[in-house]
Amino acid sequence: MATSPISPAELSLLLAKTSQGDRHAFSKLYDATSAKLFSLAIRILTRRDLAEEALQDAFVSIWHHAGSFNEGRASAMTWMTTIMRNRCLDLLRAMPHEHGLGEGQDFDQWASEDLSPIEQAISGQEAHVLLNCMKALAPLQRQAIAMSYFHGLAHEQLAQQLIQPLGTIKTWIRRGLQSLKNCIAKA
């Protein structure tokens, strides 16, 4: 699906209508956001069937909790993405331990010097700003942050995956986030 050119304000309005039980608005909200949220679920869970289940759960939750969406605190997409990611990470943690970073989970692209494949997926301007700021990080630092976001990894797990001392990982993450903060604030 081509990403629909739907503005944050329109998404907020659809969420507000959804909170009043407007099924048509909810259906439009799904059409506008499900492809991005589904790809996030697949990225986290790697299995399509689980990702479909998570997407259903997330939208059932969005329908029931639309009333608690606060436009002053988050954009509609941020709010929905948070629900989607949390649902996926919960499912991931509930899975048997073998389902760790599977074959489908390739984070090498984040450590690459060439981030153009990632760039091509972006639909909104703000994500371009973030990616530009991530370009300034060391490749492994970037990779550690992406692995933590997309797989909910804690410092210890990151240290194992990236074969680095725990202290190094902690410093990478902290400094990485700090430089993102400075970079985004300047952008």
Partner: protein, 233 residues
């Protein structure tokens, strides 16, 4: 620790949102945030930024069935359970519906100058929250022709790009029979083949959500959103 330190605030909130803040540090953090609006604002800031990572994954359109399942989970049951629903409907509830329907029919339905040889059968179609969507009345004329009159009620939740299709659920559990498309506002009438009348007396009614124009297969394809049963006045 000095919790007014900007850098500390930034780092703890960022790690909280990213998910690397764990264990006791996370619990301490959550207690602190409750009383600190500035820390909550920092969480919002990071949530907004870090979730942009989700926009760096190429969009993948989910299968149509995913949305259908969401609709079923939220608004309706599958037809099979619809069949059981009307059979198990409590007498009290149905008699309430009939009384309401009779009242409304007598108030609004009878066209001037037409006398029906038999009293009409009526039904109110309701969703799982007992919200009414349509009032139906089945009239039979002296020459044996039958017509179902449907009036959309104000509480009906419309679906502009879909159709609501009315089905008869035969009492013998054979396949549902389409009776026609219901209006999303106002009134509509549909002719009923005389051969269906006996089955309609005993059977139930269900409304499924279908693509515009009705089910392409001749059987219900979407979720069942409304149900009811005809009753004699």
């Amino acid at each position: 620790m000095n919790y007014d330190n900007e850098k500390l605030k930034d780092m703890l909130t960022a790690e909280y949102v990213l998910g690397t803040l764990r264990g006791r540090a996370r619990l301490r953090f959550l207690r602190l945030v409750e009383t600190r609006p500035d820390w909550q604002a920092a969480i919002d800031w990071w949530r907004h930024r870090l979730n942009l990572l989700a926009d760096m994954v190429p969009a993948i359109t989910p299968r149509k069935e995913v949305w259908q399942h969401i609709e079923i989970r939220l608004y309706g049951q599958r037809l099979r359970s619809a069949l059981n629903w009307w059979r198990g409907l409590a007498l009290a509830a149905s008699s309430f519906v009939v009384v309401l329907a009779v009242f409304m029919v007598l108030q609004a339905q009878q066209p001037a100058g037409v006398t029906s040889p038999a009293p009409p059968n009526v039904a109110v179609l309701t969703d799982s929250d007992a919200k009414a969507g349509w009032m139906l009345s089945l009239t039979r004329s002296a020459d044996g022709k039958a017509e179902m009159h449907a009036a959309a009620l104000p509480s009906l939740q419309a679906f502009p790009d879909k159709s609501f299709e009315l089905w008869m659920l035969p009492a013998d559990k054979s396949a549902p029979v389409s009776l026609g498309i219901l209006p999303q506002q106002g009134k509509a009438s549909m002719p009923i083949p005389p051969t269906l009348l006996a089955a309609l007396d005993k059977g139930g009614l269900a409304v499924s959500l279908e693509p515009q124009g009705g089910s392409p297969t001749g059987s219900p394809t979407g979720p069942v959103l409304y149900q009811g049963k005809l009753a004699q006045i």
